[in-house]
Each structure stands twice: as C-alpha cells, then as structure tokens.
Symmetry: C2
C-alpha cells in the first residue's frame, strides 16, 4: 500500500528561499514567517498523510454507490470530511467575513497540493465547493453571499459546476438546458448535465449547484448563456433548509479513476434557480470558477506526480534486483537495490526534477494571483492569465507521464492494483481532460492569450527571463553554463516559435494552431527552466550564507542541473515541429484518413 | 462501444508493395500471392471484428473468477475460443507435422496483430501457448514433441511461461523454486511463481506449464536454472489424461487491465516436471519463448494503438463541436466535426503515422525471422536479434502513448469506462512491463546487442540505411527533401549516439546506460523513418505504374511526410540527452533523493 509524506521542507524552500514571501509587499505576506508557514504545513501534512492518504485506496476500490436517489461515499470519507472541516482547512484562503482564515492563495496552493496528493477524489468535494464559493463571492449579491458563503466556506454545504451536456462539452453554445423566468424573479431550470463532480453525496446537508442554462427568449449560442444557483434543498429566509428542489441524480458514471468522487448525471426538472451575476453573462461568471479550477487541476498534475514519485523512490531503494554495472553496492545482500541502475535513476530524476520545478511554478503562479487580487497588480494579473493554460496543460500532461514512469519502476507489481501505483496513473489521467481538455488549453494559449492586450503579457514574460539572465550572468561560470545558457537557448526557441506564429498564423491560422500543443509544452519547459535557474540561485545564496543543511541545497542544484541538461532541450524539438507548419498536419481529406 | 476493423488493405500494401513477398526467395514466400494472403486476412478480419472484438469489453468488465480452484473465463470466451480453434488459427505458422499450417512468421504476425487488436486479453491464451510450443519445438525430445505439440498447436491444451517469483523478476538468478531429481528421470518441482498469464482457466483440457527452477545441488545463480514441462494433468502413454499434478492456482491478481486474462499465482508443491532441453541451460531454452514473446508484445503495442486510433478517428468525424478556424465546414449543422481542428488532426496524424509505420516495422521484422529460420540467413538472424528490444520497447512505449492520445480525442467521454477508450490504455500499459520491462529492453540493446558479434549487426543496419539513401537519392527532389534528408539526419544522430557510447562507455559504463532508454527510442524512430521512406518509394512506384487507387498511395505519402517532419526529428533530442552523459543522472547519493 502506498504512503504519502507531505513535502513540507521543499515547500518552505519555495516560499522562503525562492519567493521570499515575507519580503514581498503583497498584503498579508508579512505574516508568512517561516515558523508560521511551517506550523500550517506540518499540520496539513499530518492530516493528509495520516487521515486522507489511507483512504485513497479505499475510495478507489469501493467507489460511490447510488441507491434510491442517495449517493453513498466510500467508507471513512464522512468521518475524514468532518475532520477536515473541524480543522478549518476548507476556508483557509477564504474571507474572514464568511468564516475563512483569509490566507493568501500561495498558502492555499501549498496546502492544496498536499490534499490532492493524498487523496484527489476526496479533495474534489471541497475543491469544487471552493470554486463555486469563489464564483458567488465574485458575482453574487450581498444577500446571496450571506446566504451561501458561510455554509460553503465551512463545507457544511458543498458546491458543484454544471457545464457539460451529453452533446456539448467545449462548445457550450450548443447548450439545451433552459431557464424560464418566474414572477418572483427566480427561474425554472430544466435540462440534463453530465460529468458533474461531487454532484450528489452524503457528506453535506445541502449541495449548491452552479448551473449554466439559457434563458428562454435570450440570444442564440454562447451569448445567451447565464449562470444560476440551484440548491439541492431550498434555503428559507432564516437560513434553515426547506423543500427538496427539482434536481436529481440520474446515475453515477463508471470512470477510469477518481472512483471516490461521485461523478453524476444531474437532471434538472423545473428546478428553482437564482441568477448569479448578469443575464447572458454566464460564461464570464463561470470563468471565475474555471480559471481557479484550471490552476487547481494543474496542481493535481504535480500532486499525483509527487505521491507516485515518493513511492517509486521507496521501492527503488528497497527492491533488490541485479547488480550495479560498476560493481556491487550491496555486496552482502543477494542483489543491489534498483536505484543503482542508471535507467532507474534517469526515471527518478525525471520525476524529481519535474515535481520540484512544478511546485515552484505553481506557488509562483499563486503569488501572482495574490499580487493581482490583493495588491491590484495588473501586470501580475495579465501574466497569470497567460500562464493559466500552461499550468493546466503542461503540468497535467507531464504529471501524468511521471505517474506512468513511477509505475514502471515497480515492474510487474506496478500493474497489480494492490500495490496502488495504477491508481495514481488512473487518477492523474482525468486532469488532462477536465476543466478544458489540454488541446483546449493549448488553443486558449495560442489563439487568445498570446495576443491578449497586444501581446503585452508574453513580451513581459520574455523580458523577465531576459532580465534574470542579464542580472545573473558572468558571476559564476558553472552557473552560467549549467543554468543560464540552457535557459537562454530554450527561451530563444520559445520566442522563435512565437515569431513563427506571428509571421505565418496571419495568412493561415492553421499554421499557429497546428503547433499549439507543442507551444504549450515548450512554454511549460521554459517556465520550469526559469524556476530551476531561480532555485539554483537561491540555493547558491543559502550555501554562500552558510547553512547547516548543505546536502539539501546541493541536491537542489544537482536536480536542477539534470532538468536543464535532460528536459529543457525538448524546446528545440517542439520548435522544429512548429516550424514544419500546418501542411503535413492538414494534408489529408477527412475521408482519406 | 468501440469497434474494430481489420487493416487488411494496409497489411496487403506492406506484404506486396513494400516487402514484395512473392519475389523473395525465402522458402514458402512464393505461395503468398495477393489473392491468397487477402483471403486469409479477410477471414481473420471477419473473425476478429465480429467475434473477438465484441468480447473485449465483456472481458474487461467481468474479468476472471476463481472458485474452488477452478478459474472461470468471462462469458463468451469459451465459445469464441472454440471458433478460433476450429478455424485453424492457433496453428497458422506451426509445422504441418503437428497439425499446423506451416505458414511463415510474416503471416503469423499479420494475423496476430488483428487478434491482439480485437481482444488482447483473449488472444494471450493462444499467444502463450504458441510461445510454449515453440520452446518445446526448439528444445524438446521427439517424444516430448509428439506428446505435447499436436494438442498445443490445436490449443486443445494451452501453455504458460513461469519465470517470476515474488522476490525476483528480472534477476532470475535469485530464484527459489527447486527441482528434485527422481529415480524415473522426472523431477519434483516446488515453489511459487507469480504473474502467470493464462495460468489456469476453463477453456482447455490441459495446461502445459513451462517452469524455470533450480535443480537441487546445481550451480548457484542463473547458471543453475533449468526449464521444465509441468502439465496440469499428467499425460499417459496413450496420450490420454491421468492424475492431476501438484500444481494449483493460489489467486488471480487484480490488474489495471487485461482483465479477461487470468493472471495467476501458481503454487508448485512437489509437482512432477520433465526437463526441457539441457540441465542448467534453462535460460537459453526460455529465451526461445522470450524472444518470440517480445516480438509479440511489440505487436501488441501496435495493435492497441490501431484499435484506439480507429475509434478516435470515428469519434473525430462524428462528434460536432466548435467551428474550423478557417471557416465552417459543416455550415448546415450545429457545429463542425472535431476532425476540422488542427490539434485534433495533429493527434490523429501522430497515431496514424505511428500505426502504419509500426505495422511495416513488425512485418519487416517477421520477414527477417523467416529469412533466418527458413533460409538460414545469418545476417537476418543477427539483425532481428538487434531489433528485438527496439520492437518490444519502442513500439510498446509509443503504442501506449498513442492509446492515451486516442482517449484524449474523446474528451470527458474518454474517461468513462462505458465508451471503451480507457480499456485500450489500461490493456496497452502491460506491454511496457511484461516480457522484460522496457528499461530491461534498453539495457539489452545497449549493454548487449550493440556489441554482439563485434558490433557487426548494428553496422549492417547503418549500411542498410546508407545504401537505401544512396540508391534512391537524386531522382526526385521532393522525395529527397521530404524523406531521404530527414532519414539521413536521424541516422546520423543514431550513429553519433553509438559513437558516444563507444568513446565514453568504456571509461564509465554508466555513460552508456544513462542513455539506454533514449537510444532505444531513437533507434525505433530511425527504423520507422526507414519504413516510411521505403513505403513512400513503394507508393511512388505504384502511382508511376498507374493504379486505380490513387488516393490510397497519396495518403500513404502524406502520412509519411508527417512522420518525417514531426516525429523523426525526436532523434536530435535523444542524442542531446545521451551526450549529456551520466554525470547529472548519477549525481545524487541515494540518501539525498
């Protein structure tokens, strides 16, 4: 059975050595002293490793069960959910006004990674609630906020997102769910929604569904879509629960993974709904949830990669098989541990260098959100908007690949469910798909974000990389060679790809879109390369200042060197593919495939 | 529910346009006239698509069941197995003397791909039997052949391979299963074997286990391993079945996929076994099975990729979502089909160009086996020995990735088991693991096969590529640019990697082994590049000669161009990683991970 250890020390490194949070002037960051963040991370680590992680396999094996309209979560989930609520974890980065602890997003992300790694299916119940609460917070009336947020921040009530219908996922303009205005200002919602995570379950008194629907008589297509609050139980004026609303669960889907989360078909049959935000501006309101969810999903890619890596590492140290090619390293034992073998090392280093780079990337992204939301930093806002599809698409594609590599370390045992490595890959797989499949992320990046505000944000990103190189070059020849030179080369590749799109995308947009997936991946590599160069610098600073933990910082440098030497050069291949253009991609008539 | 269509036309292209089988002087190839091979492929196509494919999901859902020592296969398997036997498919490429049809391996592979694609878990019952029969054919006494082969060729009795034990997989020298010599020349076998595919089931009268064990008092380690025939039921002199032997199934493993195949823990408790081949030369005898099995597993990578691709293609043509960026292509419908989108195209072209390239590679490999076995061609024998780890490792890694891409085309529906795409990835995953995990294949390639016979075979491979380029260059500028130039560049990368290993592997073998995985993949790409260049040439010939099916050959050319432009350049990245050496890979002490 796999285990999980929260990466407290590494997270502290990112918060304090890399991001230097207490030196930032983002409101609230001054409170993030190392002792304070350490206390929170340690507590979160205990809860996730001792309570949530042991339930991960239980959830996978048992799944959710629908009986007479009631969904039962796996054994132990209810008790664990109560513990999570009691610890105040559900409102960590929510406003105090509604019962939250008002911590910045960077702490929400640091803790969120642990929750996702320990038990992704379980954590989705509170994750979706957080997203729905954020949408109400951003777009709700004061009355709506007062009615729903205290309960949702505490997870006494949970939330859902209802977008997809059987015939439309990405293309929501084709939506059929309708909303009929009532005299009292409410709406009657009718239609079917599918793939609704946490759609129905037995862990909360009420479920607040956020539902996209078209108001009858409104504009055609995506411009006629509005967002509604549809509670499972109606809420009376005094806040107590009233009648059951007209929303029922049709079935629970049988999925490849995340069995512990109830993915439901939801049927709305004249259910009472309340408009959230403006009429026909539902997509805008929904995107508050979506953007938050996309960053959260990117984090899931990292989280599953980390827990899978941790277990692969343990196995590689324990399992005795074969001898090191350079001479026995465990001569008194029957064989050497797997970790002596170079190809096992390669795989572990791929995983380790990804996980630590991705963690820095995620927390940097969260700090940009804090800068945008708490300090009104428009540049940070633009940058995180640009990076959102990269975080979602790159980290989940790579994260999935890492879980596959971790599983491979186990050989045959990796394929046997009892050992738990299969679950990590099966659970990680969904992150490439939901909240906009990764092809849609790539399209968003190349088709929309690159040119946003006249291309200002991508230019700012390139400047940031260039300035970092300029400011740090020429001081240490090894650092230049191992970190700055590869970063420079990769960044140059990325700029060349952007240039190719500009020059060739105008005459034929397919030239840009044929390279969107490659561009998203090369962008991700450059971001991780930047993170590694910054982490290397931070490690050199720590070593220069004198530290009692030399091994930690030297390991960090060595791990970074691996990433720069073995992973970052992928940008050249992506560029080559992009520059080959659309011709070979679009050559065939559909009939000739 | 997914469907499967046998790739009869494409297989015919490979057999006749590419390999030109009837012009070969390999014994038996003169019979492979297009009408003849077409008739066989059509029949195999009917059986696999109409009988085996519909049982694929059934096997996945139902799995195998152990009750009171009896293993029950999923509903419908027994009847289908009877149909397969009745059609004579189980002995297609087995000697007539034992009831087979004596066809060459190239036909066995062409048909085998269809079986694997339609239902991998089901096909493993006959696949393992084929491997065990081959080992008996190669190493058995005449009496053993007469006793077992007629029944095994007909699949009245099935076979298994018993290598792995709980504490040892790759490192079989640590094996504990023992064989005690008896006065009558037989042995008593005692020990536990795990991961035994088709270990016990209800579809055959007898099961012939081939078991590796150590004869008591023999040499230590791998040099003391012998191979034994251990029948489930003893076989009497008249060929009828006698007493139950001392072998029982301990449990059926719960696996990530191939649920329709019974993967068993087998307990040998003083079971009667008969030496197969020589004492202490068990590994040699087992490798007859292993090499055949590795090629078969490589084929599974192709097969799962093909069936997944076929369904992704259907979905991409059917599912309406969004509009082409260059203008609506289905203006009367609510949206355009997915296939209009460049990123979906990219994914489909990745899949298509892999599948067709891999098919050519597999059948070329099979023709080399025929040349070696039927015509005593030592060069072909050396070449296929070199290519075996490439076929196994590269085609299963890539094949798996292709099933993931195919699943991704379905968006959320790809994650729902009902749609069947998850099964293709879960089933394909095992092929990267069994018959020697792909890391072991890479080690075999770099640590053993490269230097085999003084490096003769790899030099022969390079010469073959060089000669092909030389013989065909300068006749058609487009062909040169689209095919020969990329092939030349990729082959140069591969040679540079080999050169790096020679120059740096001597002083530190880790420099070679740190790059083994990359080398295996770049080798695979060069093989597929060679196949595509040859297929392009064959297509140009067909077009020049005049054909009624211009679209087929032009599609072939366009698909090849895609591979050369977008996939083959991966060799440069692999080379770059290899040339970065072992330093970053081996930098950390195990304790510092």
């Amino acid at each position: 059975m796999p285990s999980y250890t929260a990466p407290t020390k590494d997270t502290q490194f990112v918060l304090h050595n890399l991001l230097k949070v207490t030196k930032s002037d983002i409101p609230g960051y001054d409170e993030l002293e190392p002792d304070f963040t350490s206390a929170i991370l340690e507590e979160a680590g205990k809860l996730t490793s001792s309570v949530l992680a042991p339930l991960n396999a239980v959830g996978d094996k048992e799944g959710c069960r629908l009986e007479n309209g009631v969904v039962y979560t796996p054994k132990g989930f209810k008790e664990a959910f109560a513990q999570v609520k009691e610890g105040g974890w559900t409102g960590l980065d929510m406003p105090e006004q509604y019962g939250g602890q008002n911590m910045p997003a960077v702490m929400g992300s640091a803790v969120g990674e642990m929750f996702s790694a320990a038990n992704q299916a379980f954590t989705m119940y509170q994750g979706l609630t957080h997203g729905a609460a954020s949408a109400i917070l951003a777009h709700g009336t004061d009355a709506q906020k007062d009615t729903y947020l205290p309960k949702m921040v505490a997870c006494d009530w949970t939330g859902t997102m209802n977008l997809t219908e059987p015939h439309c996922g990405t293309d929501l303009g084709m939506m059929r769910t309708k909303a009929e205005p009532q005299d009292d200002g409410s709406y009657k919602i009718t239609g079917q929604k599918i793939f609704i995570s946490s759609g129905e379950h037995d862990m909360a008194d009420n479920i607040i569904h956020l539902v996209l629907a078209k108001i009858v008589g409104g504009p055609e297509g995506i411009k006629g879509v509005s967002l509604f609050i549809v509670p499972k139980f109606m809420v009376k004026d005094d806040g107590s629960l009233g009648d059951r609303n007209g929303v029922t669960v049709g079935k629970i889907e049988e999925k490849m993974g995340i069995h512990g989360n109830s993915t439901c078909v939801m049927n709305y049959d004249g259910a009472t709904g309340f408009l959230l935000g403006e009429e026909h501006k539902g997509m805008r309101a929904m995107f508050t949830m979506m953007n938050e969810a996309r960053l959260g999903v990117g984090m899931q890619g990292l989280a599953q990669a980390d827990v899978a890596y941790q277990n692969a590492l343990d196995y590689a140290k324990d399992r005795l098989q074969g001898r090191a090619v350079t001479g026995a390293e465990n001569p008194d034992g029957p064989a050497d541990p797997l970790i002596v073998h170079p190809d096992i090392r390669r795989s572990l280093m791929d995983q380790k260098s990804f996980v630590e780079g991705a963690r820095a990337f995620i927390l940097w992204g969260a700090s940009l959100i804090d800068a945008a939301h708490r300090a009104g930093d428009k540049e940070a806002d633009g940058l995180v908007s640009l990076l959102t599809p990269v975080i979602k698409g790159f980290l989940t594609d790579q994260g999935y690949d890492m879980t596959v590599k971790a599983q491979q370390v186990y050989g045959g045992h990796g394929y046997i469910e009892e050992w738990g490595m299969s679950q990590f890959t099966r659970d990680a797989r969904i992150a490439q798909i939901y909240e906009g499949a990764n092809g849609v992320q790539a399209l968003d990046l190349v088709g929309r974000k690159l040119a946003q505000d006249g291309g200002k944000h991508v230019m700012a990103f390139f400047d940031m990389v260039k300035n970092f190189i300029k400011e740090n070059a020429g001081q240490d020849a090894t650092f230049d060679k191992d970190f700055l030179d590869p970063l420079k080369a990769a960044s140059k590749d990325l700029q060349a790809a952007g240039m190719y799109f500009m020059q060739n995308g105008m005459k034929n947009p397919n030239n840009a879109l044929s390279g969107s997936n490659d561009f998203m991946h090369m962008f991700g590599h450059v971001c991780l390369g930047l993170m590694w160069a910054r982490m290397a610098k931070a490690s050199m600073e720590a070593l220069a200042e004198g530290t009692s933990d030399v091994a930690f910082f030297e390991t960090k440098l060595a791990t970074g060197r691996y990433y720069m030497a073995r992973q970052l050069p992928a940008t050249a291949l992506h560029l080559k593919r992009i520059e080959s253009g659309a011709d070979t991609v679009m050559a065939l008539d559909a009939a000739n495939f």
